[in-house]
């Protein structure tokens, strides 16, 4: 009996930590949407289309979808200098927004799976933690 309780206990702890470390994608996207509406929507807009020539689009953005690691780095450390997004040049400044790694993972999952964007990759907190400047 003791053994049984022990096994159940271990199982709960294991499952618990697993769930704690790996948020299901739907939850991450939902949390990411909140972050997006708080920190990003002013410039990139509700439809993710940005403002041509000023704020680059996220919706169907070749830059985003082909440079996931760079995009995470931009959220974590900021981005400045010229970039080309869907054939158009952008020369603005996006400072890092002070988001923590989990918040960055969530908002990445939101923008990678919204407005017609699709990504096989699920961004995790760990993955964000491992990206350096």
């Amino acid at each position: 009996m003791k053994l049984f309780v022990g096994i159940i206990g271990l199982f709960i702890i294991y499952e618990g930590t697993w769930l704690y470390q790996k948020k299901p994608l739907e939850q991450s996207i939902a949390d990411g949407k909140e972050i997006y509406n708080d920190f990003c929507v002013q410039c990139h807009l509700d439809n993710g289309e940005g403002v041509s020539g000023v704020f680059p689009p996220l919706a169907k953005s070749d830059y985003l979808l082909n440079n996931i690691e760079m995009s995470i780095r931009a959220l974590k450390y900021g981005l400045s200098g010229t970039i080309v997004v869907n054939g158009e040049e952008y020369d603005g400044v996006m400072q890092n927004q002070g988001l923590d790694n989990l918040e960055i993972a969530d908002v990445m999952n939101f923008i990678l799976n919204n407005w017609g964007n699709e990504s096989k990759e699920i961004i995790t907190e760990n993955q964000v933690a491992n990206i350096n400047e």
């Binding site: 509700d46 000023v54 400045s80 400072q95 927004q97 002070g98």
Partner: protein, 373 residues
């Protein structure tokens, strides 16, 4: 030949175009851009939020992510001794202003997003400190908005002084519009008035009112990012970011309610409505409102004769459309709007220098001086 009557057609076309553009008049004009250009005073600053002039050759400039620069003859040196800056969303190191008697006491004021106590997150704080060559000493916290929040929006903030020994600064609604701006007992969505030593003036509008923050001077603001004193009347002029299509210029008056979010000309970023009310008794109408929004930041009157025809005109930076806006005001109304330095970059700040020229803080660049070509 039979004469045709074009009047009905003409009228319907006029109606249609005015419905489509929906720009709040006067329509913005783009005059000949070759008359003016800029000289770079200092470069290499990502978001030059605030600036103030020590003399004709020296100024202080804030970089939002948390650096204060002393710029001497175009060379920038970091000033040490800032409190820890809490950079999140639109918040960070914001405005800097020299004490009216700076030459004697070397005191400066700063508005900064900070977290140094309590709940997670941060809020806008006002500090003063003594500026020694390239370091700060005697750092003193004068005011801190409560409570902390992890929201990224609407920290304000600008600092101005009247000639009666008062300091004014703003804090935006901190992303909690339904709770903060209309509640006098909560920080956020307010312009505050303090004495220069940080104490609260006894004649502040709500000093005697129970359940009210005594430092509040006016309320119902969304996100004030431009403030200046009118050179003739001494009034406090302010601009604030509205929601989509509701940016405003207000003349800030003691104890008045500027209406956010009960009345506004704007709508949510998503296009949904916030309120169907644009006016209410007991709430102030803006002096001017921008539709479409220009995302205004910084504000200055030209009070010199440097630009001849511009004396008395108001200048506001546009973050969104990347130009400096000139507003000509006659008999209490904006009668003309012009784009100056079209496409210069996101204009975060504008101030008149001691030499009478206008100086711009432009994102990704630094501080630029507006000069004749």
């Amino acid at each position: 030949m039979k004469k045709k009557n074009f009047a009905p057609l003409l009228i319907s076309i006029l109606c249609l175009t005015s419905c489509i553009s929906q720009e709040n008049p006067p329509e913005i004009k783009t005059p000949d851009q070759s008359k003016y250009t800029t000289e770079t005073i200092v470069d290499g600053i990502e978001i030059p939020w605030g600036m103030d002039f020590i003399n004709e050759n020296e100024l202080l400039v804030t970089e939002k992510k948390g650096i204060l620069y002393r710029v001497s003859n175009g060379k920038k040196t970091e000033v040490s001794g800032l409190p820890e800056v809490y950079q999140r969303g639109q918040g960070g190191l914001m405005d800097v202003a020299l004490h009216p008697d700076f030459n004697r006491n070397k005191t400066i004021y700063l508005t900064i997003g900070v977290h140094h106590e309590g709940e997670k997150g941060g809020n806008t704080a006002l500090y003063c400190a003594k500026l020694n060559e390239n370091s700060l000493s005697n750092l003193k916290l004068l005011y801190k908005g409560q409570p902390n929040t992890k929201k990224g929006q609407h920290w304000g903030s600008r600092i101005v002084f009247d000639d009666k020994g008062h300091l004014y600064f703003g804090i935006g609604d901190r992303g909690n519009r339904d709770v903060n701006p209309q509640n006098l007992n909560r920080d956020g969505g307010k312009i505050y008035r303090l004495n220069l030593d940080g104490s609260i003036p006894e004649d502040n509008p709500f000093a005697m009112q129970k359940e009210a923050l005594k430092a509040v001077y006016s309320y119902g603001h969304r996100n004030p990012q431009g403030m200046t004193i009118h050179p003739k009347t001494g009034e406090i002029w302010e601009n604030e970011h509205g929601p989509k299509g509701g940016d405003e210029i207000n003349i800030v008056q003691k104890g008045k309610n500027y209406g956010w979010p009960v009345i506004t000309y704007g709508i949510n970023y998503s296009g949904t409505s916030i309120t169907d009310k644009k006016s209410m008794p007991g709430m102030e109408q803006p002096f001017y409102y921008w539709v479409p929004s220009i995302a205004p930041s910084g504000m200055a009157f030209s009070n010199s004769n440097v630009y001849k025809k511009w004396k008395g005109d108001l200048f506001v930076g546009s973050l969104k459309f990347k130009y400096l806006e000139r507003l000509v005001i006659k008999r209490g109304k904006v009668v003309k709007r012009e784009k100056i330095l079209n496409d210069i970059g996101r204009v975060r700040n504008v101030k008149e220098g001691p030499d009478g020229y206008l100086y711009l803080g432009v994102e990704g660049k630094g501080i630029l001086k507006l000069v004749h070509q």
